[in-house]
Symmetry: C2
Subunit: 117 residues, 2 copies
DNA sequence: AAAACCTTGACACGCCCGTGGTAAGGTTCG
DNA sequence: CGAACCTTACCACGGGCGTGTCAAGGTTTT
């Protein structure tokens, strides 16, 4: 049987058993269960847990950020809305021909405005 | 002068003046300032504030999520790390040829593993 | 059967997020 | 000049996040 119990998984990944349960509830790494309900972590889950640690510690992001990124991936509407908001950055009006930048903004947003009301 | 003061901007966008200052501190919408330090909201900022409201209320995301999305856009390393983590989803091992899925995981992560230690 | 695991559920705690309010002081308008 | 605005800096507070610990009960191992 190629699967570790929660305490063994905790030892090889650096997370506490408590956090492994939390990570599961957050939908980030969900191990399969044994017949009696024990969590069973396979090689894929272990790898994912280790790189999750690298992500959090290496970039200072929270588990909820990873959860949001995961949500972004699965929800095309959300992704489109967020991207079009980011595209419309009104930074530095002076980097744009001064006569145009007002209309330029408004055009950028026309599509989005129709969608979200 | 085509720019609104903070209270006027608040009235036309639905945010409170307090929140407009908060949103600025979060790096999401940063208006330019008058000579004496007053915030001046132009058409671009106003539009951005309204669509930000749509994003938050329409999708139930927090301002910090929008901030994270913005950070993702600007930081290529972060984006690559997050994407490769999401790509390695160990969901449903049975959807993949059973002999391959273990190596498949490991290869997917090799690059990332070298970068974050 | 006892030890050493596992499960879920609860209480707790510190910190950050999203808000509001208020105070002390500068600016603009009438 | 006075009213009405603006600025920054604080205090406060409810809620969620990331953790730990503990209790009550089921499972696996020896």
């Amino acid at each position: 049987m190629e699967a570790l119990t929660i305490q063994e998984a905790a030892e090889t990944t650096g997370w506490s058993p408590r956090m492994l349960r939390y990570i599961e509830r957050a939908g980030l790494v969900e191990p399969r269960r044994s017949a009696s309900g024990y969590r069973l972590y396979g090689p894929g889950e272990l790898q994912r847990l280790r790189t999750l640690g690298g992500l959090v510690r290496g970039f200072g992001m929270g588990l909820s950020d990873v959860g949001f990124a995961q949500r972004l991936r699965g929800d095309a509407d959300l992704r489109a809305a967020v991207e079009s908001w980011l595209d419309a950055e009104p930074r530095r009006p002076q980097e744009v021909p001064p006569a145009d930048w007002l209309r330029w903004e408004q055009e950028k947003h026309e599509k989005l405005l129709l969608e979200m009301t």
